[in-house]
Structures are given as structure tokens and as C-alpha cells.
């Protein structure tokens, strides 16, 4: 059984732990700068509480880094130094030079780095990519995506403060848009330039939004709508890919396979329940972890390479730079302005 170490105990760590539960692994322990949080994770999911990161790294076959974005770098560098293969949540880093240093450190140490761009494992997105690869739509030339929610963690003090501090979170482009930037690269190839407008520098409390135009090196065009400006609770996703011989469309608002209408107890009205259930192995987080586990065991190239993760950060930061400057940004020559 592969021995897993968890770093960080927040919301995404719990999602990963739920995924690990159905895989042939042993959760060895949890490390968190908040020891009480590590204790709670240990109580809920098993495994020991580690006070020392290096001790955890020494005890495991694979470490799963689920810290906030700005705290990825120290964990990745520590794992590389310890020779411990790792999964790192997206975005790989808050800054481009950090991401470059992290990828370089893992390459030099010859330690696998698996970055959790989970959208590539969502069944609808994976099916769309497979349809492209099967030639269903010819050459993919235009991709349009939507990933739109309300401001994260509203009402939860820690989360809200983290996401609202764009210096730490990168705002909606680096935290949300990066999912679709990565997916668009997967489908349409390398990005040549980016142009974006949005609210990231508009100084509007608890709102962020961007409309991003991508131009791919082979001429294709992309449009990414990423939002933290929806009314509370509203979540929308959409995907459209046009090729020279066809079109793929999917919308999160498409009819769910299970819909239930129920009488309300006292009011002369009803409420509605909608479900789109998946088999355990198709749960995207579980599928992602299973894939990385497979890559660790076989040495196979992961669906998301360190270069992919680095480029996703680079294009995202370039999009933010475009919002800030109002100008298109060439990816090849883009350098992040020093913070």
C-alpha cells in the first residue's frame, strides 16, 4: 500500500482525503502549521499528527500538498529535497519565478511532481477531449468556457480573507480561470498571447471577474469567463469547442439526470432536488488521485506535466497583467513584474 502524507488540512485536503479513502493507500499522517487542524484531520481520517514536515516526508511514498497557494513553494522544495514524490494543488504557485524554481527543483532531484488540475479529470471535460482526439469535430479551433461562482468563503472568515487578498490568492484568474486556461491548452495547444479585462484591479469588495481572450500558436482562439461575481450560491460552468468539422457544447445547467419535486410541509409550494451522480471511480478528484498513483507506480507521464502547470500559471499571470495594463501580453516574452 502506498503511504500518503497530507500537508494542509483545508477544504481541498478533505476532498482529497475522501478520494484517498477508496484507493489502496495508507494515510500515514497530517502536517499543518495549525496543529489543532492536523489533529482534527487525524481524528476524521486516521493517520498521525506530524509536527515536523521533514519527518512526514521521510515516512511516506507520496505527499499531497493542499496548502494555500502562497504556501506551495516551501512544501514542494522540501519534498524535492527529501526525494519524496508529490501531488501539489493548483495553482502551482502565486508567482512565476516561484513556479519555475519549483519545477526546476523537482527536475533536478528527479522527483515526480503531479499538479492537481482536476478539470482534466472531470468526466464531461475528459469526454470532450477524447471526442476531439477521436476527430469528432476536426481540428479544435475555438474554445469558450465559463467557470463562475460567487465570492468564495463568504461568511467564513479565514477563506474569505485569503481569497480577498489577491496578493496571496491571485484573485479569480489565478484561482479559477487557471482551470480553463489549463484545459484550453490541453485541447488547443500552446498559448501565444492573452488579452483580458475584468475587476481584479477595480477595488470592488468581494467581487472579481475576468473575460479572457487567448490566441493559440496554431491560430486558434479561446474565451474564458471566470467569475467571483455571481449572486451568492450561484455556480455556473460551460464548455464549447468548435472545430473545422463540428462543435462540442456542454452546460452545467443542462438537465440533470435525476430531478425530484417534493411537496413542502406547510407551504402550498414545492421544492426541487437535482442530482447528477457518478460512479465512485468517475469522481474527478478520486480519478485524479488514482491517475497520479498509477503514474507513481509505473513511471508513466502524468496527464498534467510540471510544464503544463508552469504554463498555466504563466498564462494566468499574463492575463492578470493584461487586466492591469489594458494591453495584450505575449506569453513567450512575459515576465511577471516584481511584486
Amino acid at each position: 500500500m502506498t503511504r500518503i502524507g497530507m500537508i494542509g488540512t483545508g477544504a481541498i485536503a478533505r476532498v482529497h482525503l475522501d478520494g484517498w479513502r477508496s484507493l489502496p493507500v495508507e494515510i500515514v499522517g497530517h502536517y499543518d502549521i495549525d496543529r489543532d487542524a492536523a489533529r482534527r484531520a487525524s481524528d476524521a481520517y486516521g493517520g498521525a499528527v506530524y509536527d515536523d514536515l521533514d519527518a512526514l516526508l521521510a515516512d511516506v511514498d507520496l505527499v499531497d500538498i493542499c496548502t494555500p497557494t502562497a504556501a506551495h513553494k516551501e512544501c514542494v522544495l522540501a519534498a524535492a529535497a527529501a526525494g519524496t514524490p508529490m501531488i501539489c494543488e493548483k495553482p502551482l504557485a502565486r508567482h512565476l519565478d516561484d513556479a519555475q524554481a519549483m519545477v526546476a527543483a523537482c527536475e533536478e532531484a528527479r522527483v515526480p511532481l503531479y499538479v492537481a488540475h482536476v478539470v482534466r479529470f472531470f468526466p464531461e471535460y475528459a469526454r470532450a477531449k477524447a471526442a476531439i482526439d477521436d476527430g469528432e469535430i476536426g481540428r479544435p479551433a475555438m474554445i469558450r468556457t465559463v467557470r463562475a461562482g460567487s465570492f468564495p468563503g463568504a461568511g467564513r472568515e479565514f477563506n474569505s480573507a485569503f481569497y480577498a487578498d489577491f496578493e496571496k490568492s491571485g484573485g479569480v484568474i489565478l484561482d479559477v480561470g487557471i482551470h480553463d486556461i489549463d484545459y484550453a491548452r490541453w485541447c488547443c495547444g500552446e498559448v501565444e498571447r492573452v488579452f483580458a479585462r475584468g475587476l481584479s484591479f477595480a477595488d470592488i469588495p468581494e467581487r472579481d471577474h475576468a473575460l479572457i481572450s487567448l490566441r493559440f500558436t496554431d491560430g486558434g482562439i479561446g474565451h474564458i469567463d471566470c467569475s467571483w461575481a455571481n449572486p451568492p450560491g450561484l455556480w455556473r460552468t460551460r464548455l464549447e469547442i468548435a472545430g473545422d468539422r463540428g462543435l462540442i457544447e456542454w452546460d452545467g445547467a443542462d438537465p440533470a439526470p435525476v430531478t425530484v419535486f417534493l411537496r413542502d410541509e406547510d407551504d402550498p409550494t414545492y421544492h426541487e432536488e437535482r442530482y447528477s451522480p457518478l460512479a465512485t471511480e468517475d469522481n474527478p478528484y478520486r480519478a485524479e488521485l488514482a491517475h497520479f498513483l498509477h503514474c507513481l507506480e509505473t513511471g508513466a507521464t502524468p496527464r498534467v506535466t510540471p510544464h503544463d502547470a508552469l504554463m498555466a500559471v504563466k498564462v494566468s499571470l499574463a492575463a492578470m497583467e493584461s487586466v492591469r495594463t489594458g494591453q495584450p501580453i505575449e506569453i513567450a516574452t512575459f515576465q511577471e513584474a516584481s511584486a
Partner: protein, 334 residues
């Protein structure tokens, strides 16, 4: 009270919207379809037969009929010449979009109509979509609060014919599909587009086409709103419908989305070989033509002016300029 009979002539069926306008005109009380002129005599004769009216081989003969209104649906590049023929010979002109292919032509059309006291209306029928009108009312009621952005699409199928002949159309997907949505935004928001960045794809979705078939505009308006507009002919022949008009307005208090053609049946027909969406919502062309006839009858100013047509065209031209220069460009209105 008997109402005045409004006598209309059709000039050119090059743009397929002419058939829709003619069908509606024919069904309206108090409207007489006097005749059809078309540079393509075969097409003109066929359309005259179809709509039960006369074919005029010579445009002068048709214009000598004492027309109250002329509907011009020629190829984009011919709009100016045909408006110049009709101006001063009729009380009003309904000209298909885009108004022209250059700002100079558009301004000349506006000027000749002003000089001859001819009412010039541009055919932006989507203003007459009840769904779009509802969105306008929602915005005007302030429900969305402070407005941030507009994300829009006017996708289409590749139309072929003269639409892909630059000499006749002035451009492909960008000039074809920028103007409708820009007109809607200007009308709903009372604001002008000031700057545009555009990614334009030539033969991107149709290899060998030889003209732009993909366009993605990113724009800013003088009320601070930013937005994008996808003008691409990205609907393949196998798609259930010709395309779409969708607008999504984001404000501080919420988000409003309109799909102007969402009112459709899904019809699977073995004869058609595919599933198609058949639209059952209110016919916006009918609203456009009714408004045109009412303008003549009431002797009032057009609801959609030549200046509106020029403002929308200027954004499309700015998009092409941006794509060539690879930078953000201002919209040149003068």
C-alpha cells in the same frame, strides 16, 4: 377611418432577409408591395412571382412609381449606391445591416438622406425581440445595480455566397456579426464603444475559405463597462440551428442572461437528416417592418438611424484594425 396605403418597393434580394421582410409586408394591412428590382433579374423575377408583385428590370422605373418606402437588401458594398438612387425618390429607406463597408460610404448615405429629407432606417431587427426588450427593461429598472460587463455572442453558420466575397461583403464573420450586438448594447445602455481589441481568424473554422470566419472582440464602453463579443461562424452544418444571439450582463446586484432564440422546438426530421431547432418566439423581422411602415405613416423619425448603423459599423472596422495592428484601438467615429 381608411388609412393611407403605404407603397413599398424592394431593391435586391441578395440578402436573404429580404424574403422575410417581403413576406411580412405582404401580410400587413394598408401596405402595397409595388414591385421588385434586382441586379440579378432571374432572382428578382422569381421573388416578384413568389410575393405576387411585379419585377422591374430597371431600378428607375420602380423608383418612378412614387414609392413611400424602399427596402434595400443588396450586397453590403452596394448599399451606398442603392441608397443614393432611392434618396429623394421615396419618403423612407430600410437598409439591411451593416449599413455599408466603410465609414465614408455610411456617412455619404446619411448625408444624402438628410439632404433629400429621406428617412433612413437600418435593419437591426433584434431590437424587436421581446426577450431583448425585457432585458432592456430589467437594466433600465436598475435591477442589476452598477453594471460591470457584457459577455455576448452572435454565432452563425458559414453563409457562403457573396458573404465570403470580400469585394461584395467588406469582410466575413466580424463585419457580419459585430453590428447586431453592438447596436443592442448601444441602445440598451445608452453608451458608446470607445476601444476594441480583437482576435480575428481567417479560414480558421473553414480551411481555404479566404475570409475571416472567427472573431472575438474585447471592448470597453464610455460608461466604464467592458465586454466581449464572439462573432464567429462556428456553427457547423450539422448544428440544429443557424446560430445565436446571447447577451449576459453582469452587475453588482446580479446577472441577466438573454438567449434571443431560446424559444424553439427541437424537431428531429429524417427528411432534414438532423435535429433542428424551430423558433416559435415572436418574429423580430415582423416588428422591424411594422416599425418601418409606422414611421412612414406617422411621418416620424426612424427608431434606428443611419448614425446607429455607422456607430455599429465603426466597431466592426475597429476590430479589423485591432487584429492587423495587434493592439487595442480606439473606435473612430469621425
Amino acid at each position: 377611418m381608411t388609412q393611407e396605403t403605404i407603397r413599398i418597393g424592394m431593391m435586391s434580394f441578395a440578402h436573404m432577409h429580404a424574403a422575410s421582410y417581403a413576406a411580412h409586408l405582404r401580410q400587413m394591412d394598408g401596405v402595397e408591395l409595388v414591385g421588385v428590382w434586382d441586379a440579378d433579374a432571374t432572382r428578382g423575377q422569381a421573388m416578384a412571382d413568389r410575393f405576387g408583385t411585379a419585377f422591374f428590370a430597371d431600378n428607375e422605373t420602380l423608383l418612378a412609381e412614387g414609392l413611400d418606402g424602399v427596402v434595400i437588401c443588396s450586397e453590403n458594398v452596394h448599399h451606398r449606391e442603392h441608397v443614393e438612387w432611392a434618396a429623394g425618390r421615396t419618403r423612407a429607406i430600410l437598409c439591411e445591416k451593416p449599413i455599408a463597408t466603410t465609414r465614408e460610404d455610411a456617412q455619404a448615405m446619411i448625408d444624402v438622406c438628410a439632404a433629400t429629407e429621406t428617412r433612413l432606417q437600418i435593419a437591426f431587427p433584434v431590437r424587436f425581440s421581446p426577450s431583448v426588450q425585457r432585458l432592456k427593461a430589467i437594466i433600465e429598472a436598475g435591477k442589476l445595480g452598477r453594471l460591470f460587463s457584457a459577455k455576448c455572442t452572435n454565432h452563425g453558420s458559414m453563409p457562403g455566397g457573396w458573404f465570403i466575397d470580400r469585394e461584395l461583403s467588406g469582410g466575413g464573420a466580424v463585419i457580419d456579426h459585430t453590428v447586431h450586438v453592438i447596436d443592442l448594447l448601444r441602445w440598451m445602455l445608452g453608451a458608446e464603444v470607445t476601444e476594441v481589441y480583437a482576435e480575428v481568424g481567417d479560414s480558421l473554422l473553414h480551411p481555404g475559405l479566404g475570409i475571416d470566419d472567427a472573431g472575438l472582440l474585447s471592448f470597453r464602453m464610455d460608461n466604464g463597462l467592458y465586454g466581449t463579443l464572439d462573432t464567429s461562424w462556428s456553427r457547423p452544418a450539422s448544428y440544429p440551428t443557424w446560430g445565436d444571439v446571447k447577451l449576459e450582463i453582469l452587475g453588482e446586484e446580479g446577472i441577466a442572461m438573454v438567449d434571443a432564440f431560446a424559444q424553439h422546438l427541437r424537431v428531429s426530421s429524417d427528411a432534414a437528416g438532423k435535429t433542428r431547432w424551430l423558433y416559435w418566439g415572436g418574429d423580430m423581422d415582423r416588428g422591424l417592418v411594422q416599425d418601418f411602415v409606422a414611421m412612414i405613416r406617422e411621418d416620424r423619425a426612424p427608431s434606428i438611424t443611419g448614425e446607429d448603423g455607422l456607430a455599429a459599423l465603426a466597431v466592426a472596422l475597429a476590430a479589423y484594425r485591432s487584429a492587423v495592428q495587434g493592439e487595442v484601438v480606439g473606435v473612430e467615429m469621425e
